[in-house]
Amino acid sequence: MKLLSRSEEIILMAVLNLKQEAYGIAIRSYLTEATGFEWSIGAVYAPLHRLENKGLVVTRKGDPVRERGGRSKIYYHVTPEGRRALLKLKNINENIWGRLTIPDFKQG
């Protein structure tokens, strides 16, 4: 299976961690805090769109919000497939890092 891209992986984890509150702005500020640099809205939505179409996240429609010009907040949730994909990535990551024998990286 094709692995997720890095941004997809990070965003999927953000959605997972934000639980019930994962909508666009929340995800974006979470990412900004977590990575230390600013994410443009496009940079958030394009990978989200792909994740959605791969079936790793699903959406839920909230109530219309005045501040959004009457649009609803769309909340994202990780699907079981999404969780599996993340776990798989986690294993791979640990595996890769674990194999590294360069001293500088050893203490973590």
Binding site: Y23, G24, I25, R28, S40, I41, G42, A43, Y45, A46, L48, H49, R50, E52, P64, V65, R66, E67, R68, G69, G70, R71, S72, K73, I74
Partner: protein
Amino acid sequence: MMSRIERVNRLPGSAEWILKHSISGEIRDRAIGDFEEIYLQLTQERNRLYAGRWIWLQVLKSLPVFLKDAFDWRLSMFTNYLKMIFRNILRNKIHYFINIAGLSIGMALFIFIAAFVLNELRHDRGHGNLNRIYQIGSGWHNGTPEPMAELLRERFPEVLRTVRFRYNFGSDNYRYKDKNFKIQRSYFVDPAVFEVFSFPMVRGNPAAALQSPYSMVLTHSAAESMFGEIDPVGEVVHYDACDLTVAGVIDDIPQNYTIQFDALISLETLMQLKPHLVGNWSSSLFQTYLLLPENHEHAATEAKMSQFMYGNYPGYEQWSPSRRDQVRFSLRPLTSLYFDRDRGGSLYHGNFQNITIFSLVAFFVLCVALFNFINLSTAAALSRRMEVGIRKVLGSRRSQLLKRFLFESIFLTAGASLIAWVMVGLLRGRFFTLIGKSIDFRTFLSPAPVLGFLVFVLFVGCAAGLYPAFYLSAFQPSDILRGGKRKRAGGDRFRKVLTIAQFAISIILIIGTFTVGRQLDFIRNRDLGFNKDQILWMELDDSSVGRAELLKSRLSSEPSVAGVGLTDFTKPGVWSIWSIPWKENKVDMDVFVVDPEYVETMGLEIVAGRDFHRESDKGRAFILNQAAVRKLGIESPIGEKIDEATLVGVVKDFNFRSLHQEISPLVLFYERDAYPIVNIRLAPGNMERAIGEIRRVWNEVLPGSVFEYHFFDESYDALYNRERKFEQLFTVFSVFAVIIACMGLFGLASFMAERRTKEIGIRKVLGASGSGIVFLLTRDFAGLVILANAVAWPAAYLVMNRWLANFAYSVRVELWLFPAAGMIALLVALLTIGFKAVVAAASDPVDSLRFE
């Protein structure tokens, strides 16, 4: 939803517009919502200005990502569309084959014609000075005397350069070392030709090339045929009585140039061979071109020059209008010469009318192919209903289905255009033979034509797909999927209209083909009133005219010469009009001044009175043609007088011009015995030997003079060559139109037969005969073809009448042609449908009914 909650803070309008149009549908609202929310928050926390800046920065940063995202999704949509198209093609092979084949043929024809038309319209583009070059026109023709160029250059400072062309009527035989070559078209020309016109020289020095006498410049092909690999510059070629030195080689001349030739010889050469031409105002065989300054108002110069020229004619003020017309001076822009139909003296003519006709015909053939596409796509609706139904149930909107079907037709059109290009590549040679010239397709590799072609493909794709797309996407899933009664598919009427249109076009083209063919046969076989075969003519220069009678008597004694007649009349298309005093009036008529043997030599038929008598008639007799007798309104012509001369005979009308013009009144005068034009009728037999004998006599009587001769036949044939090509092209087009229309009919018939499989089965079980079923299936279509006749006949009648109006002598639009063309169309159509119908009628009802 929007209306329930009032919007608190709008994004800047343009930012919102950009976002709306760049973000792909599914995530559009979410993302814009985010933008708006943050914007509001920032306006409240900081200020509107800061928020605005932030928004724009965000838009800029996000835009590439959004666009790429949108593109990715569209792409995946397209792969799905493509998959559906290929599945459909596999399922309906005949239908798609007919669609694509018809479109490809239609487009290939269209490409050919478009290339032809573009090529014609871009004539002479290569001349850098195109808009500054003018040809001097004199009356109806473009012949000017030798000294005119210099006179104009001296009198009018705006004449920057002059170039004279004089066609080389002489032999086309050249000899290099021991080999003989023919060079068909050559001109004697001023050295300034390379300054005024752009004939790129690949070898040699253009500035020096034609300065000296006995130097010549060859086109690349001519040089190659003579010298092969050798560098021709400096080589000496033997021509007639002199030696010519090759001074340069130019690129071959594109066929859409007005001026065409294979070789140029310095004008000095002619001046040395025929010194009497220098300063001679009476021989007008030079074409004179002027180079005027940039953006020059040529009308003013033309007025000045004509004023000046007319001043040189004694008694010009008293001349009749038609006599003035004869010497009317004009400056004709080089840009206008290519399509100049009657007055061009250049060897090559474009023809604007034919261009228009062929563009229309190509368009119509394409229409026939388009109608096939539309018809078959809507007729195939049955097999498409399921797809539409399922897609709609799964949430497709109509606009998406529209897009999907339009994409299909554009995609198929693009495919057809590729096939069309392959056809163009394969059949290029044939097409070039058909139109009598070749086109370099590489010249179209510039942005405008390429873009034009892409737009054309898009346009054809949309034209073909729009109606089917609307038609198919309008299906209601509930109707389709319930499966119950199959409503008679709508669109039947529209399909019928299109089928009628297709056959109307085909029938018009068939009638056109027949009419064109009949008219051209008529012209070819028409009695010209004189025998044009085997007559050649030669022109004597002024110094030799005195020996014309000697030449004539010597020639007459040759066995291969059947007759010799002398005249002032030169070549077909050039003539002279005089004002003849008649009773108290003056009447304008063509006048030939001839010797007594002219009538006999030309094979003119005397219908009243007698021919000239050498002994008694000189200066005292004239002969009229029938048109002149009619014009003057004389009852018993013989014995009438003009001045001192008596009318002795009447000749049958003969066509001394093109059949595009009516035979005009003509007077033949016997005035002198010596004239510059020697007409020779050859005895049947070996032409080469005859010409050899004539040449020998010529050289004996007129030693040192260049032997030049022309055939009447060629001059007349050249006038009708154009029409012959026209006929051939026309035939090809109508054949293809009929083929494409029948392919469509075949497709429709097979759909109908398929749709009525069960009906046919039941009818057969109930005892219908095979022929009855064939009749059932063909009846509707035959009706359409018959209806098409009603549309086609009046249209064809009008169109053909207009075309025939171009000829002074033409066949009538024959009424029997109409039913004949209709029958042909009907027959071909019946054969097409009949084939399908017979198969359907022969099918075993068990097969079609078993599965019910």
